[in-house]
Amino acid sequence: MNGTETGYAVTLTDLSKRFGDFVAVDRLNLQVGRGEIFGFLGPNGAGKSTTIRMLCGILPPSGGSGTVAGFDIGKDAEEIKKNIGYMSQKFSLYEDLTVEENIDFYSGIYRIPAIKKRERKEWVIEMAGLREHRSSRTAILSGGWKQRLALGCAILHEPPIIFLDEPTSGVDPISRRNFWDLIYHLAGQGVTVFVTTHYMDEAEYCDRLGLIYRGELIALGTPEELKTHQMTEEIVELFCDHPQDAMGLIEELPGVRHAALFGRGLHVVVERAAAAVPAIERKLADAGYTAVQPERIIPSLEDVFVSLIEARDRQEAPQGEFSR
């Protein structure tokens, strides 16, 4: 099957990976369309990196199958490596080299033909806004510039799909927004973007999200779908003084799963908001809190993420520790 013909950049069928007895990735089924920005979320150790390594042709799967950019991840690992871009949070730039030298270095790695080299280099410098810094040592660049340079180096060979592994760690908000503008621009040209992140505000930038936990894909949908359809519980938000004391009181109420600090307020996960709102109001009023005004809200992505993982934990025993 050729992914380019089907319109899919990534297709996975029952993709699995075992390390001895441990199932790191368990029958993953997923299709990512061309030009889609797909966010891949999950706690540490859930199987995210193992999946990405398989998609990049670095790690052979133990079961199932998949294609990336039309190539079979079991058989065409070398072809996949030529057809993807990969950028990690470490940026993999050489700090002692200048901006141009870093680009030249990656041009060599990706065997960019001599005739195209100059054009691609100029493209990266323009894209990253580094015209005035082309001869500067990379070490002196700000996080935002390094990030854009790393992205440029990762896509010098114009791959149809790029993997971004927590790409915006430690970058200031303005640079982060610029970075996402670039990502949208690339996606608009048909490049598929596969991104992992721990930050839910970043997940909001994606077209579609998949949540992996204990090796299984436990949720899949647009950010909007996840927020409106995925949670069986409801969320009540309230603001009060000493929220950490109020939390304890609220958690004693029946029908309340738990309370969490959220910004300067509390998010309370409840079975039914209609019953919980008056109960919370009464309980807190008895304890001397005034004007708390709990209200039902649309859950944030973080609420959804935590709730789905806890629901899964209730179904099974907590995940056994393992060490590699």
């Binding site: 999950g42 706690p43 540490n44 150790g45 949070q89 700000s142 996080g143 935002g144 510039w145 927590e166 760690s169 430690g170 970058v171 200031d172 908000p173 303005i174 640079s175 927004r177 610029n178 996402w180 503008d181 949208y184 996606a187 608009g188 721990h198 930050y199 839910m200 505000d201 909001e204 930038y205 994606c206 077209d207 647009t222 950010p223 909007e224 929220p243 950490q244 004391d245 939390m247 969490a260 600090l261 959220f262 910004g263 300067r264 973080e302 993420f305 935590v306 993982i309 520790e321 060490s323």
Partner: protein, 322 residues
């Protein structure tokens, strides 16, 4: 130093942390530039900024690990340079690398830190037990630190920083690379510490975390741009934010950028944010633009700015990032 007597805090109204024009230069670079802040006892204070903004350097000076080039700092009334040894008894410091020994077990790491801080043998086992329970690490006490997950390493780092019962806790980007479930757990532990009266000074690059602090300082290129409660900081936002949902968000963002300036339009997945001086006019303009271009408008409403919006707004006024 002419300011010493004027700014030396009295024991009665003693701040947990106080700095005056604190400055640190490295070669040509001013990493921290005349930083003046005070943090009350029992407060949770967040210093927020990007990589290289000066957060870690500030924290190192406060912890008495690095001397300032200029200016002064006091922690619990003790001078950061003259009394740096005494300061160390009162503070816990969790650096970004946590300083854990991967080939020691959880328990051995705890004992190691107990030794470093000269914790008396008597009562030590109980103290360590309590910290392990507190951080939910008891089941893993015989596991090598190198084999812990990111979230557990972070909690062990915190437990080690607390072994000598410090009054002020410094946490340098403690949740970097940690998943949301573990992060919630971690913040819960921090609030428990606040209840016990510990002052917490935390740095982060993430604005959603900053929202959890009592007070927040925004630092950029070594300079403090603003410092206040999250609620008050939101007043610094210039203009209102409209959240626009349409059938084609990417095209919507492009059109709005052509119509308004680049800096005022942000694309967040399926929603577009437009910063506008007057929400009424902004809304009318956006609605007519959408209908002229044949894009279906699914919703438009004014939303409360996030701290990130504020940060971007304040930074833009300072001449932008980089």
């Amino acid at each position: 130093m002419p300011f010493t007597s004027r700014f030396l805090p009295s024991a009665l109204t003693m701040d947990a942390i106080r700095t005056h024009n604190l400055t640190r230069r490295f070669d040509g670079l001013t990493a921290v530039d005349r930083l003046t802040i005070s943090v009350a006892q029992g407060e949770l204070f967040g210093l927020v900024g990007s990589d290289g903004a000066g957060k870690t350097t500030t924290m190192r000076m406060l912890a008495g690990i690095m001397d300032p080039t200029d200016g002064e700092a006091w922690v619990l009334g003790r001078h950061s340079v003259r009394d740096s040894e005494a300061i160390k008894d009162d503070i816990g410091y969790m650096s970004q690398r946590f300083g854990l020994y991967p080939d020691l077990t959880v328990m051995e790491n705890m004992h190691f830190y107990a030794d470093i801080y000269g914790l008396p043998r008597r009562g030590r086992a109980e103290k360590i037990d309590r910290l392990l329970t507190f951080s939910n690490l008891t089941p893993f006490k015989n596991r090598l630190a190198g084999n812990l997950s990111g979230g557990m390493k972070q909690k062990l780092g915190l437990a080690c920083a607390l072994v000598h019962t410090p009054k002020v806790l410094f946490l340098d980007e403690p949740t970097n690379g940690v998943d949301p479930v573990s992060r919630r757990d971690f913040w819960r532990i921090l609030y428990q510490l606040l209840k016990e009266g510990v002052t917490i000074f935390v740095t982060t690059a993430y604005l959603d975390e900053a929202d959890r602090c009592n007070r927040v300082g925004l630092i950029h290129k070594g300079k403090l741009l603003a410092c206040d409660t999250p609620v008050n900081l939101k007043q610094l936002m210039r203009g209102a934010i409209l959240e626009i949902r349409t059938s084609d968000p990417r095209r919507t963002a492009r059109l709005l950028r052509n119509r308004f300036s680049d800096a005022t339009v942000g694309l967040f997945g399926d929603r577009v944010h437009l910063v506008t001086g007057d929400p009424g006019t902004g809304e009318t303009a956006a609605v007519s633009l959408m209908s002229a271009e044949g894009i279906e408008l699914l919703g438009i409403r004014q939303i409360e700015p996030s701290l990130e919006d504020v940060f971007v707004s304040v930074l833009s006024r300072q001449g932008g990032a980089q």
